[in-house]
């Protein structure tokens, strides 16, 4: 039997953390794109669009991410494709992230005063022009801190993909534990690596929020 040194454990975990980072990035960017589409449906003019996106958001916010992962894993399989774990993980995480981002961003768009809509409409702007030149530039500023804050949830959410067999930081933790019988050290290190990934994001979200509040107070 080979012996594992502390350095061996740490190196293996750090190598696996690359996949956590990559999956987080893919989910966040993909979720952002789908979330933006949902946002436009959510605040758009047609009633059925609003209902559809509201239903989608409620569904994804009201069910466990783990179940969504299982459904993606087994549901995609129904189409006769051999589903690799990474594909199911990406699909589920993108859809889940999109629901939350759309809801966060809706709050930001609605925080823009109603008069701004009316003023831009009175200038003869269409819906897309209003969004592009008046509403979004203002909403975007409000949206940055909570969006950065939510990215922490995405990083933590990727831990669940270990359950459907995607080998990232958490799964590597389980594998290394099974090989070394040192759960305390291994899971402690795994937690610290997650902390090192998430804490800068949390902190910068807080700082951004404070900075933004200062701007608000001076208005």
């Amino acid at each position: 039997m080979t012996e594992f040194s502390f350095w061996d454990i740490l190196r293996n975990l750090l190598l696996a953390a690359r996949w956590t980072v990559l999956l987080s990035l893919v989910s966040f960017i993909g979720g952002g794109i789908v979330g933006a589409a949902l946002l436009f449906l959510r605040i758009g003019g047609r009633r059925w669009m609003r209902l559809l996106s509201r239903g989608y958001i409620q569904l994804f916010q009201g069910t466990p991410l783990l179940m969504q992962l299982f459904l993606a894993f087994f549901g995609l399989g129904l189409f006769g494709i051999d589903v690799p774990a990474w594909l199911a993980a990406c699909v589920a995480l993108i859809l889940w992230t999109a629901a939350f981002l759309a809801e966060i961003w809706r709050g930001c768009v609605e925080s823009v005063a109603k008069g701004q809509w009316e003023a831009s409409a009175s200038l003869g702007m269409g819906y897309l022009q209003q969004m592009r030149y008046v509403i979004l530039p203002q909403a975007l500023k409000v949206a940055v801190p909570p969006t950065v804050g939510f990215s922490v949830q995405v990083v933590k959410g990727t831990a669940l993909t270990s359950i459907i067999g995607f080998v990232e930081l958490s799964k590597a933790g389980s594998i290394v534990t099974n090989a070394t019988f040192q759960p305390f050290t291994v899971y402690g290190l795994v937690a610290l690596i997650y902390f090192a990934l998430c804490w800068p994001l949390s902190k910068s979200s807080q700082l951004l929020e404070r900075k933004l509040n200062v701007a608000h107070r001076n208005h």
Partner: protein, 223 residues
């Protein structure tokens, strides 16, 4: 796609599902009560408690909020026994949920407490209230009233997050679903059903918490 959906297994599996639902409900009830209590205690420490304890609580809150629940659960269930602390799956699951909700609710409640003007606290003291009475009546209750919606959402999030306790073999709803699908080979249908049950539980819990808030805080917010 020539896949035929089959829900015929549902009747036979009902007892297993119901047991899973019972455990999930039990986990969240215990988790919510003790988790919020822990959150209140931590919020008190951070706002008004002894100075030396504040960094300890702050570290706890930051550590929990920036690591996944799954890893906290594994650490408690697999890691702590090497320090001689052993517990059953359900106890570990409950402990993890309490510790997790404690950290999140601490931050939420602290935000509510900070919104209470300092002068109100002094006014309470001038009415000969003890510091505890002043904290309870003047600071805590209005703070809870203010942040009740955020706290309710967090409790629902913890309930949905509890799906992962099946990974340490705590026999909750997800565990029941895993068990059933390993018998009937109808994974997709089984997870659809359990997902819908979770959705119903989430909606129910949200209504319950809204009702509780309405009962606990009947007065209009006096701001």
């Amino acid at each position: 796609m020539t896949y035929h959906f089959d829900f015929g297994w549902l009747i036979d599996s009902l007892p297993v599902l119901l047991k899973g639902i019972r455990i999930t409900v039990q986990l969240i009830l215990i988790g919510a009560v003790f988790g919020v209590a822990l959150g209140i205690a931590c919020a008190w420490v951070r706002a008004l408690g002894p100075k030396w304890l504040r960094p300890v609580v702050a570290t706890y809150v930051e550590l929990i909020r920036n690591t996944p629940f799954l890893i906290q659960l594994f650490f408690i269930f697999f890691g702590l026994p090497s320090l001689g602390i052993r517990m059953t799956e359900l106890t570990a699951a409950n402990l993890a949920m309490i510790v997790n909700l404690g950290a999140y609710s601490c931050e939420i409640i602290r935000a509510g407490i900070q919104a209470t003007p300092r002068g109100q606290f002094e006014a309470g003291a001038s009415l000969a209230m003890t510091p505890f009475q002043a904290f309870w009546h003047v600071v805590l209750v209005p703070a809870l009233q203010r942040i009740w919606p955020a706290l309710s959402s967090q409790i629902v999030i913890v309930m949905l997050g509890s799906a992962v306790v099946s990974q340490i073999a705590a026999e909750d709803l997800t565990f029941a679903a895993n068990f059933i699908q390993s018998r009937n080979f109808r994974a997709f249908e089984t997870y659809i059903v359990s997902t819908l049950i979770y959705l119903a539980l989430a909606i129910l819990l949200r209504q319950l918490l809204a009702g509780l808030g309405w009962m606990l805080f009947p007065r209009k917010a006096s701001r």
